[in-house]
């Protein structure tokens, strides 16, 4: 007996088919229909499974390698507070406010807050040091304008110094200009979770990714034109849409979204989904940069970490999710408040807050803090840092791995440098623009000579118009800025050979002169066309005399000068007579490096812009160190520094004092052939600054270094040194002072009409009295 098993489905189909009217070919038609039906089922099942597997693979792959694209951050250098530091409380408050720290009257303060009552400052962890203990909460005591003490509040010990948290100056973005501060789920306050869930997806903890009830409610509301508080999409669906899908509105996308949400719910816990969501959502703009995640938004709008926001603030952020620009509290505070109150109402509905709390929170005003929309506070400097980073790290890491780059830049000085350059260029334009019909350029670099730290750097008039960085990339003739090298080479001879000794009192003839050199004739001329006759080397440098310097260079030896030029960092300086007057090309960066030798007692310091690179967890990837090399004897360096102070007191740099800069300082003007470049280089014991002005295409600027570059230097240095202690240059051992007669170079006597103190390297000082006016008048026969 044949047993046939027929499934329930087949029986049902047969029953249906039986009802279809059957013609002569009925049986055949039935089979075709049946076949077609099965084919459809198979096709749908095939594509359905493929669709599902495709969605699952996308979600799985993404979750496996889920990393936020976090741009690296470049930080300015942090000021160091120390006992005895001249600083007014107002300056510290200003700094902390720039860090988005909040002032509170409460004496117990949390991280990122300070109390002005006792000046109790709690710093956020900033990982400048790997050791977290290096960042304790501190209490800073002021004695009017000085820091009296810094107390570690944890150990109650006094600290000799404390490095503040650095300010971020820019981010290194890839294609996405997004900024976010990642927060773990456990660190989100319950209020923000409740606020977001109640307004966006109040059944979030109960559905499986898709909320059917919410979908029907949304459809019903849509059909009945009712205003809806909640959309149909769940938090999971929104997350899926943000991660994987385009904003296109189609059934296909909706199905894909729902499927992926369902898959995601199977892979992650509710807490994990919410953590991803709260870190992902877009919450407005900070200039060109988008603000993503409640962590970053909380810092932007409320100047505090999300852990510390209150219920109305949480409701404000939750309300912004739907339309961050419409509910932007800066632009539309009214709409933002209405929306916030709506969120508070939903929180009351869900039981997250009581009715009384709702009434109280509704009264809270919208308080948001202003922010700096500039996303790059030192663009030329940032560009140098980026170039340096790209030499060691791949682009992907820089743009996405949230590296923290701690630099040497002083943000206050940087801002002063930018103002000085803008004001200086305006003054030059007033004089030159009508004649040249083009705008001049200028650049500035300021460094701390002891450490080589770049404190300020402006590469040109406008970074947005030209990214060409004139500090490092431009090669220009240094002109008279190179002259101190000639004099240094002259003084160094004493330590090498004593056949001819040069001192600042050595006499040289500044008269028209022709040099025959390698079958060529060279006739250096003074810029002003004036010649001064017999002068001391000090006067020759102070007044930047070309002929006197050129003659000295020939006496010293071009090989020696060219070698010293190379050692100082001027690059490939060839031993031609014209090098004495700086007729070769260098960058302002190289000039700054070279001058560290004079400022540092003969020791060259390499310029540094990056102090440290740390990964996202704060672990140090690399740290730079001070690189020094002894180039000159300290006595030579000191003599040059002292002669350069004469440049400012009596020479071509005299306008420095006239313009009001009266600290101990040394400097040198520089003007090249046909006035194509105008330079000023100057330094105090703790800050060195180089300013160049000119045209990129070498059009003569027709202004001297003292006219074009010096005022920029003064403007910058007056502000930049305002908070630095006024120090004198330290004299090394082996330098002696004698009173000399500058007209003869001999020791001055009471009969000399003119006398002045002069410095000598010990052993080179004159031993005989001035012969011309000296007491031994019979010496005129000697």
């Amino acid at each position: 007996m044949e047993v046939r098993t027929v499934s329930y489905d087949t029986m049902m189909i047969r029953r249906v088919i039986r009802r279809i009217p059957v013609g002569p070919n009925g049986k055949l038609l039935t089979r075709i229909a049946l076949g077609f039906f099965f084919l459809c089922v198979i096709v749908i099942a095939f594509f359905g499974i493929r669709f599902y597997l495709d969605c699952r693979s996308v979600v799985e792959n993404h979750l496996k390698s889920q990393t936020w694209s976090l741009p690296s951050t470049i930080y300015a250098d942090a000021p160091i507070l120390y006992e005895g530091m001249p600083m007014k409380p107002a300056r510290l408050i200003e700094y902390l406010q720039r860090l988005d720290y909040q002032s509170t009257k409460d004496s117990s303060v949390g991280a990122g807050q300070f109390s002005t009552q006792e000046f109790d400052v709690r710093f956020r962890k900033h990982s400048l040091f790997d050791d977290a203990a290096a960042e304790p909460p501190v209490l800073v005591h002021f004695n009017k304008t000085t820091i009296e003490s810094i107390q570690n509040l944890s150990s109650k010990e006094d600290l000799p110094a404390y490095e503040l948290e650095p300010i971020a100056i820019s981010n290194l973005f890839g294609e996405e200009w997004e900024k976010r501060t990642l927060v773990k789920y456990k660190d989100f306050p319950n209020d923000i979770v409740q606020a977001v869930v109640s307004i966006e997806d109040r059944r979030f903890f109960h559905h499986g990714g898709v909320d059917i009830k919410a979908v029907f409610r949304a459809i019903w509301n849509d059909l009945s034109h009712k205003k809806q508080l909640q959309g149909g999409s769940t938090i999971t669906q929104q997350l899926v849409k943000n991660f994987y899908l385009t904003p296109e509105r189609s059934v296909r996308r909706k199905v894909r979204e729902a499927t992926m949400a369902w898959i995601m719910e199977g892979k992650l816990s509710k807490e994990q989904i919410l953590e991803l969501y709260l870190n992902e959502i877009y919450l407005g703009q900070r200039g060109a940069m988008s603000v993503n995640g409640v962590g970053e938004a909380s810092r932007l709008y409320f100047r505090k970490d999300v852990e510390r926001i209150d219920v109305p603030e949480a409701a404000l952020l939750a309300g912004m999710i739907q339309a961050p620009n419409i509910y932007n509290p800066y632009k539309h505070p009214k709409e933002a408040k209405i929306r916030r109150d709506t969120v508070l109402a939903t929180m009351q509905e869900t039981g997250a807050i009581t009715a009384a709390e709702f009434e109280e929170f509704k009264k809270a005003p919208i308080v948001v803090y202003p922010f700096d929309s500039r996303i790059n506070l030192a663009p030329y400097f940032g560009s140098i840092v980026k170039t340096q980073l790209l030499e060691k790290y791949d682009q992907q890491s820089i743009y996405t791995k949230n590296l923290r780059i701690f630099t040497t830049l002083d943000l206050e000085m940087q801002q002063e440098a930018e103002v000085a350059i803008q004001e200086g260029l305006q003054a030059i334009d007033k004089i030159r623009f009508s004649k040249t019909k083009k705008k001049a350029e200028a650049c500035l670099i300021a460094i701390e000579p002891q450490t080589g730290y770049v404190r300020a750097l402006v590469g040109g008039r406008s970074f947005s118009q030209s990214q060409f960085d004139r500090v490092k990339q431009a090669k220009r003739q240094p002109g008279s800025v190179f002259k101190p090298v000639v004099y240094a080479a002259a003084f160094e001879r004493f330590f090498q050979t004593q056949d001819r000794i040069f001192t600042p009192a050595t006499l040289v003839d500044d008269e028209p002169w022709t040099l025959h050199f390698q079958d060529q004739i060279w006739q250096p001329k003074n810029y002003d066309g004036q010649y001064h006759g017999i002068v001391t080397l000090r006067d020759a440098l102070a007044h930047s005399m070309n002929v006197a310097t050129a003659k000295l260079a020939m006496d010293v030896g071009l090989d020696k000068i060219s070698l010293l030029g190379r050692q100082l960092g001027f690059g490939d300086v060839k031993p031609y007579p014209s090098i004495a007057l700086g007729a070769f090309e260098v960058s302002p960066w190289q000039v700054a490096t070279a001058y560290t030798v004079f400022a540092n007692g003969g020791v060259k310091t390499e310029i540094r812009s990056i102090k440290k690179v740390a990964d996202t967890k704060g672990a140090t990837l690399e740290r730079s160190q001070i690189e020094v090399k002894k180039i000159l004897h300290p006595q030579t360096a000191y003599l040059i520094t002292d002669m350069l102070t004469t440049v400012l007191s009596q020479g071509t740099g005299a306008p420095v004092k006239q313009l009001g800069f009266r600290r101990p300082a040394a400097g040198k003007t520089g003007t090249t052939d046909e006035y194509r470049d105008a330079w000023f280089v100057g330094y105090t014991p703790n800050l060195l600054c180089v300013v160049w002005t000119g045209y990129d295409d070498n059009t003569p600027i027709k202004m001297t270094g003292a006219q074009a570059a010096l005022p920029i230097w003064v403007r910058f240095m007056m502000k930049a040194t305002e908070n630095l202690p006024a120090e004198e240059f330290s004299s090394p051992h082996g330098v002696v002072i004698r009173m000399i007669d500058p007209t003869t170079g001999g020791l001055a006597t009471e009969d000399c009409p003119e006398s002045r103190p002069e410095l000598f390297i010990e052993g080179t000082e004159p031993r005989e009295a001035c012969k011309q006016h000296g007491s031994h008048w019979w010496n005129i026969f000697g």
């Binding site: 007692g601 002072i737 009471e750 007491s775």
Partner: protein
């Protein structure tokens, strides 16, 4: 007659002056008497034949400026002490950061330079060490203790670079600058013994 006598006297005095000058030129140029710190007349010996115009003194030079204390000195010294502890514990990286901080707090204080020099020498970065010690010398040369320590370190660097004679010279200078520098004494003794 009176006029002739005057001319004769003048010629006599002139020759006397020339002969004195030749004597002075024989003296070694570098060896100055201790009084040379304060400038003295070019010819120290009295001129007997100057009846009418007595020798005039050369002018006295002002004293060199002494470094004024910096507001950051106290903190810098405390930081240096803490850096030395780290260095002695072998935490060279940490020590270097602290010395750098001290240097920034008081850039004209010599001690951070000195210890950065010592630390660089420990890391066998001799060129760097010499640079820092040279800077330390600029700021600490008035203090025999520190100056002797700097010379000792410079000697140790030279010794490490097998420059025996130069090292001996530095150790000698260190001992003469501060005779209580026993380390320099023992280094000198050890090198000269060999």
């Amino acid at each position: 007659m009176k006029r002739t006598l005057t001319i004769f006297l003048l010629v006599l005095i002139t020759f006397a002056g020339c002969s004195k000058k030749k004597h002075a030129a024989i003296e070694p140029p570098v060896q100055e008497p201790p009084s040379s710190v304060e400038p003295q007349p070019a010819s120290p010996q009295p001129q007997p034949a100057q009846p009418t115009t007595p020798p005039k003194r050369t002018l006295e030079a002002p004293a060199p400026k002494k470094r004024a204390p910096s507001p950051g000195d106290t903190s810098a010294i405390k930081l240096v002490e803490s850096g030395v502890k780290q260095m002695n514990a072998g935490n060279l990286d940490q020590a270097e950061q602290i010395f750098e901080q001290a240097l920034r707090v008081s850039p004209n204080n010599g001690r951070p330079y000195y210890y950065l020099g010592v630390l660089s020498a420990k890391q066998k970065q001799y060129e760097r060490a010499s640079g820092f010690l040279s800077q330390a010398e600029v700021h600490l040369h008035d203090d025999p203790f520190w100056m002797s320590q700097i010379l000792l370190q410079e000697g140790l660097i030279l010794k490490a670079q097998n420059q025996k004679d130069a090292a001996i010279q530095k150790f000698r200078e260190a001992v003469s600058t501060d005779p209580t520098n026993t380390y320099a004494q023992s280094e000198l003794a050890a090198l000269t013994k060999k």
